[in-house]
């Protein structure tokens, strides 16, 4: 089964809902090792995405992600804004102007997104950042693709791996971003950006029709 613009719109819409629902939780994660704004930033950014979607409905999945990229870039601010903005922009570029995208295209877009984040933020796996959710997701997507999975299965695998990846940040000492200022004191807390990545990728799978993931 291939995914079209409806999926992309549904994904972004669901993302906005999920960011709003988890706003307080992401703020709380950021309060522990950052500056208490990640949930607010993401919520504000995805509300802007919703506004843009309503103004100029996109016609392809790539256009939808590009629109999201621009909205996130201009409304999120902080570290997450440029990082997610770049991720969505690179994904959009990878998707090009295809109307329908298949499992391979999805895996490619996820890879491009992750690579964009790494290019901008220079974080490596284990630095306790959103990369720790994106990289396992990209790997899982690749594996499922190789095993012949369809687009929905690829997204579902990515979502699950991102969720696990977010959890693995708990014991880590941060080496990038604001949490790194805390040194050892950053251990024992989940990285807020990894948590938001897991939520966004779960929304992508849900939007593709995959039954809701396990409650956290």
């Amino acid at each position: 089964m291939a995914l079209g613009v409806d999926w992309a719109i549904q994904w972004l819409t669901l993302s906005a809902k999920v960011m709003s629902e988890h706003r307080a939780e992401l703020i709380e994660l950021d309060r522990a090792i950052g500056d208490s704004d990640h949930g607010e930033n993401m919520d504000r950014g995805f509300q802007a995405v919703l506004d843009k979607l309503a103004q100029t409905p996109p016609e392809t999945p790539g256009a939808a992600l590009k629109l999201a990229a621009m909205a996130l870039m201009s409304k999120v601010g902080g570290a997450a804004g440029p990082l997610y903005g770049t991720a969505y922009l690179r994904a959009a570029t990878a998707l090009g102007d295809s109307a329908e995208i298949d499992a391979a295209a999805i895996a490619e877009a996820l890879t491009a997104a992750r690579d964009g984040i790494v290019a901008r933020g220079k974080a490596e796996l284990g630095d306790k950042t959103m990369v720790d959710a994106w990289s396992p997701a990209v790997n899982a997507a690749g594996e499922v693709l190789a095993e012949g999975g369809d687009a929905v299965e690829v997204l579902a695998a990515a979502a699950e791996a991102a969720e696990v990846g977010a959890v693995t940040t708990d014991p880590l000492v941060a080496r990038k971003g604001r949490a790194s200022y805390l040194g050892e004191r950053s251990a024992g807390h989940r990285d807020p950006g990894a948590a938001s990545t897991a939520l966004l990728l779960r929304a992508a799978a849900t939007a593709a029709g995959f039954p809701e993931g396990p409650a956290e």
Binding site: I27, D35, G77, G78, G81, P82, Y181
Partner: protein, 333 residues
Amino acid sequence: MKKLINDPRAVVEESVEGFGMAHADLVDVHTDPIFIVRKGAPVAGKVALVSGGGSGHEPLHAGFVGHGMLDAAVPGAVFTSPTPDQIIPATTAVDSGAGVVHIVKNYTGDVLNFETAAEMAQAEGVSVRSVLVNDDVAVEDSLYTAGRRGVGGTVLVEKIAGAAAERGDSLDAVAGVAEGVVRNVRTMGVALSGCIVPHAGVPSFELAEDEIEIGIGIHGEPGRHKIPMEDADGITSRLLDPVLEDLEIKSGEQVLLFVNGMGGTPLSELYIVYRRAAQILGERGVKVERSLVGNYVTSLEMQGCSISVLRLDDELTALWDAPVHTPALRWGM
């Protein structure tokens, strides 16, 4: 949470609006996107200075827009760096053709957003030079961190680079002056309490009645470590000693001593800290040539302070003394 605000999400917008009304003689306020420019900008032939960052550090940066300091300030949401769609128009609005220096506090968010904005402004034909401020000795500058933060020293960079721009220095020269200040200023801070980010509604961290946080930044984040409460003289040593060590200040040198309040500490207490800091410098044979005491780079209503030391030479002293006329810093005119 008790604050003199209306909608927590309108804090920056309404505050900047009030700021614009109170200082209509000095600044113009742009809304959607929000940025503040010096009245009459661009100033013909002058290199422009643009800075910005999360809100909550007032008077930084908007309070330093005016003659002899910034040409534009770009406020983000509270403790959140501004976005390129604010920084770009601010940059183009104040460019006279002589180029623009971006003064960026070293935080991942600020760096990335200013980086994007600089690229895009360049694409629109503006020459942009970026200067990173990273004066916080509390953070180790190593592969294991995002590098040192920009904190209190930022105001000194803005004042001195602003004076260089005002006297007609070239783009490279102004950037060079700013970098010279960055190389010679170090800061360290302490918090006696956290602060409450309006949209979060709860204190950024909790401290017991007898605990303080040493090595805090300016975003209500916890510091390097908690210690039991000490007296002002003891705390002053804890802040000043690493600053002096890192700067390798020697007997006979001249410095500017800056005791900065985090927003919720009475001025009288800042002077008690200043007193001890000046004594320590005196004991080490260091001459305090210039001083600044007050709330300039704050963290909402946080209680605490930071101490910055800037190594002075005749050039920097002259630029520091040059006339400045902004809402929050003014002399000589």
